[in-house]
Symmetry: D2
Subunit: 396 residues, 4 copies
């Protein structure tokens, strides 16, 4: 009895850092599609070679070598955010499907730039990517893993089953702050906590209301306004004077380390989305979904599937506990498989199928652009101390 | 060996409804002070008589009978919010100490009133109460039970021990909505979710930063601005069309059923305080306190001290589960002693000692006024879509 | 209007150690009864004087001075277990009501004594106390705080409301081990984990089935057999060789540091009760109650009413977290009021009312004796590797 | 660049019921091995045809058709327990690798059979399977999914990292009872709760100590004795008289609906393993692992990764919540991907790799036999009311 032949997908991985590693692990777990990482391209040749060797792929110092290989179906951009848009456009023009890490793009320049200008430039950049993909007839896969995180998908199914509207969502991603200098500055990070972390719960919230709209009226429910505050909590004098310091947000940063957005949707629903780099105790990835007929509380991290205890911080040695925990002593909420709970394998599975079969991924360019619009709208709101009407900035 | 004689306090309880019952239970649990409820006054004589009989007190249809009794030390106002200020002033002038349920006072009038005028009138009303108490040299006890809730006091002690500043607080009170018509209208409730529920987590948050300031610099840390949104989630068309309806917020309401406030403090710290009457699953009373050196998550309700399960909603019959749960079926977080966990006995203990010994209560008129300023500042912010500078409105 | 006069109770506190301190705190919180600690008697005069001074009581080096004071109503025995029975008998004969800390009594002698003889002697000792109290017509109050812990009482009410039988209970008290040498040896502690810790969940489980029986058929449901194992986990070679050691169970101990009992009741229900001195991470006080129509899971400790986090064990300084936690670093389940959640004030309130009003306390001599019978029955079971029929050993 | 060719595995699935469906789902998720289900054999031809059609496989009414197909590498036995041993032996003799669902085998006959004879026959049966596989040089894969459940594997890694011995384990699987008549009778189920559910936590506990022993001394740490009780909680008169009944354990059952085992290991460590068919509130799959230096609490189910609430049992319609929950109303701990959390895909992945690559699976025949020995040892213990020495019954 003949089985259907398994479709093949050849990937050019661009970048060899943290998120490239996460994606590589996820590609290994794809089933039903024969995915091979053909290339690893990275600016630093030794990193490209190292990861390529590990994955059985060819290393490339120049991104264009990947584009020139006709066997490559999809380019996966695991590079710093300020490089996303240009590389995505180039890849699309070379006829490759494109996977872009979050955020799709943004504004990268001086901190003193007026927020209205930031918003405009970020959206232009997003539009350029989307247009390039549309013209080249390639898929744009937006690597927002929260859309795929099992708790978020379960919440989606539960609320859909309840057949009542989502009235309110409360989401947060926070931890004790990045150590990567690129994420602490406007010119490389495109903002601080909101763009770096807030994009995750925001992406999930926008996805859930868009999905509800599709189901209820055949078109997504979209955000219409945002009111936001941001702050540099690391600048509080009592914090600056304290030691030891357990937060890494102060030195060299020109971006916010806390932001909170109050978002209204076109049907009257609301979302409260927060992000912070000034939270101790390990990463928090949480989304509460309050519907008219049901509630779903998503605890991506922490959750109590494994509770671990060590009387001393050295007891667990090199064994992983959870992202960004400051100590391994005491009780902790150890993740048995953090990648899985956070949605990485499911995301890459969707992208592989999307490319192989020729269908839209769940997280696409439209979602990616809305995230950019809301976050830069929030920066504008916080700077001017006023509600920002998002409707002029949203793509139809 | 002689023991110190126990001080006596005689109470005139005004009101015979829900909160009067809570207070009466709490008076019974006071220790170290001989507290007697001497009078129960209520507009409806039969309710006054019933509760008075239960408590061994004298009933009064007229509040002034209580004021005329020279044996009464303190008047406890458990009456609708719009009556607080006038009765408090009268009681103070009669030389009685005053206990006022939350909120201290507010604006009570047409929904269409400009929010700036609401803010002004609410603060004038608060000032009148405070001035009357000061002039009469009586205590003003602000019955904000969250200040006394064991988890909040534990958070205060933990953060104080850590010696680092509180950077951020996230608090919420929400449930599926009041059935009391007075709380659904501006003219009797003085607003909706924010004034009715938001006052609780807000009161706790303001208390914690004030306490930190006293400890750190000998003066409270105060709020400086608020940015807020409010909404009527019950007005979402898909909700209006849905049935059955599990939320009681729509009919007859002219107030918001959701509000969220982003508050900045004078030291740069922030608070995110939300309240909603559109949340299923039982009351949520939660406050997260993120410090520079420590975190404390307060789960007043729900918490897991008792998890109960019934396969059918009738199984637990009349046994109490928790406030505002829609069903007793399934798993629930049953409160073993909700009054205690919510701070009622501790609050009344403090007030009894305050009056007996002659010291300030933890929750006083200053805190009560700040709560009024922030909440009506939030209404102004939401109406005008802009950040409101609170400093002109705060008492020195 | 006259209030009923408050009844008076005068207490002679015997002992000045850990549990005396817990009781003293609880007496301060009694309401509705005028309780005064008249005496503090302790073998070491300086400890008696110190605690007496703190409580406004008279110190006594000799227990008999307390018995000679005719004003003393009740003697509260907070002394090591092996002294309970003799002092209780003497106090009863002097006409005093008696409060005895858990366990009521036991066998105190060489570890090599046959368990059957232990069982016999422990029950004779219990019977002597009960007979002395009965003859003197004084109350015997058994200070088993779990009977009064709010989660256990809530479970009782929930299961009673459900009107179905309790089918199964699973209870445990454990922590990382006592440092008190008296509790590590048969001759002073009367056993190890089972008698020192297991008495708590066992007391609660026996109470719940006795209460159900009273409700259902007018007589308690009683235990009929026990099957048990005990072990010295601290003797595992890999533990002995390991360092650092975080458990304090090995050196100088001749008692078990783990025990587990499988108990059958006369109606066919079962209980699984465990105790251990070899558990890291803070004290565990848990009881799960599975009924035919409902479930109640009691988390006395830990529970999530306050979750605290510190990146370093020194951050919380002297602030209390929870009993027996090895580190204050990491996440912990901080008890906002451990005494209250564990039932101490409620227990002392019941005893004060019992003595003042002349009614039986909830935790009485009958419960105390059943606990002794089951635990020494368990020791016999473990030693002989067989099920022990308890019926010959239970009082009618 | 050439990739290594993917190894192929062809599966003959025997059975078309619940566990066959779970396995089929898991085969679809295998990565890195090209697994195809070639045959579905089932006694009822229409069920074989239906599942085969769904999987793109060939249906067979006769198991021997599968054995005759030389392309088949492995036979996966998803049939009732009493058929396991005979089919496994036959498959092995046909040269096929064998996957057997838990339990490997048992005693299937009259309830009145002496437990010692049950133990002997069950072990003979297990030995026959193991010998057949050894002689045929095929793998015996024991489908104990708990060995693969992410929380259990995480606990293993955490305890290994801590480098201290596991002192004690407490495990349970329970729910409100099977509806399948075969599992309620000795002649088809081979016992009740212990063999049907207790095998899971027992398998995990034996695996963890065996793994520790291999690491510490190059040989597994094995169980040496068991003391156990069993009961028919459904026979409690108050339960029989109650209605409605939410437990399905009474009618037609001749097996226990509760059992608890106290197991000692050769290094002095202990395990407490319980199973019940008389627990409301959804399946409980829990294992606590207490080590000398660390603790890991595994909450396979329930855990709080998604908490869902519905005011009414119909709200969630057909959306799955969790295994064996009696109502979808109230709060529930909804499993976002129950198969994954319970270890099915990971188990099948391991078996596919084991067969493809030629290495032992994590869960092998040795573990399977130890589970049989301990459980039938427990039945013997409970029947005779005495500790059973397991050493004579364990394979070397």
């Amino acid at each position: 009895m003949a089985m259907p032949s398994i479709p093949q997908v050849r990937v050019g991985l661009v970048g060899a850092g943290f998120s490239a590693g996460l994606h590589a692990d996820a590609y290994r777990r794809v089933h039903g599609v024969d995915v091979q990482i053909a290339w690893v391209a990275a600016a630093r040749p030794e990193r490209a070679s190292a990861l390529a060797a590990e994955l059985g792929a060819r290393p490339a110092a120049d991104f264009r070598a990947v584009l020139d290989d006709r066997a490559v179906d999809v380019v996966d951009l695991c590079v710093p955010s300020h490089l996303h848009a240009a590389l995505a456009v180039e890849a699309a023009r070379a006829g490759k499907h494109v996977i872009v890490e979050k955020p799709l793009t943004g504004f990268f320049g001086p901190a003193a730039t007026p927020r209205a200008r930031m918003l405009g430039q970020a959206l232009s950049s997003a539009d350029a990517v989307i247009a390039a993909c549309r013209e080249a007839r390639v898929r744009l896969c937006y690597a927002e893993n929260w859309v795929y995180a099992p708790p978020v998908q379960k919440a989606r199914r539960l609320l859909a089953a309840s057949d009542g509207p989502i009235l309110r969502m409360v989401g947060e991603e926070s931890h004790s702050g990045t150590h990567a200098p690129v994420n602490k500055r406007w010119d490389t990070g495109g903002g601080g906590s909101l763009i770096g972390k807030g994009c995750h719960p925001l992406g999930a919230a926008l996805y859930l209301k868009a999905d509800e709209g599709q189901r209820r009226r055949g078109a997504p429910i979209r955000p219409v306004s945002v009111l936001a505050e941001v702050a540099q909590l690391g600048d509080i004098p009592a914090f600056r004077e304290s030691h030891p310091r357990y937060l890494s947000t102060v030195e060299g940063a020109d971006v916010e380390d806390w932001g909170s957005m109050l978002i209204a949707f076109d049907d009257g629903a609301v979302a409260q989305i927060s992000a912070s780099d000034a939270v101790l105790g390990g990463i928090r990835n949480q989304l509460a979904v309050y519907g008219a007929k049901a509630v779903a509380l998503c605890n991506i991290n922490p959750n109590d599937s494994v509770q671990a205890y060590a009387p001393d911080p050295t007891v667990f040695a090199a064994e992983y506990i959870t992202e960004k925990i400051e100590t391994k002593a005491g009780w902790s909420f150890a993740q048995p498989d953090e990648d899985w709970m956070t949605g990485y394998p499911q995301e890459i599975q969707d992208f592989a199928e999307s490319v192989a079969i020729g269908r839209e991924p769940l997280a696409d360019g439209g979602l990616a652009r809305d995230v950019v619009a809301v976050i830069y709208g929030a920066y504008l709101s916080a700077a001017e101390g006023r509600r920002v009407d998002l409707r002029p900035f949203l793509a139809r």
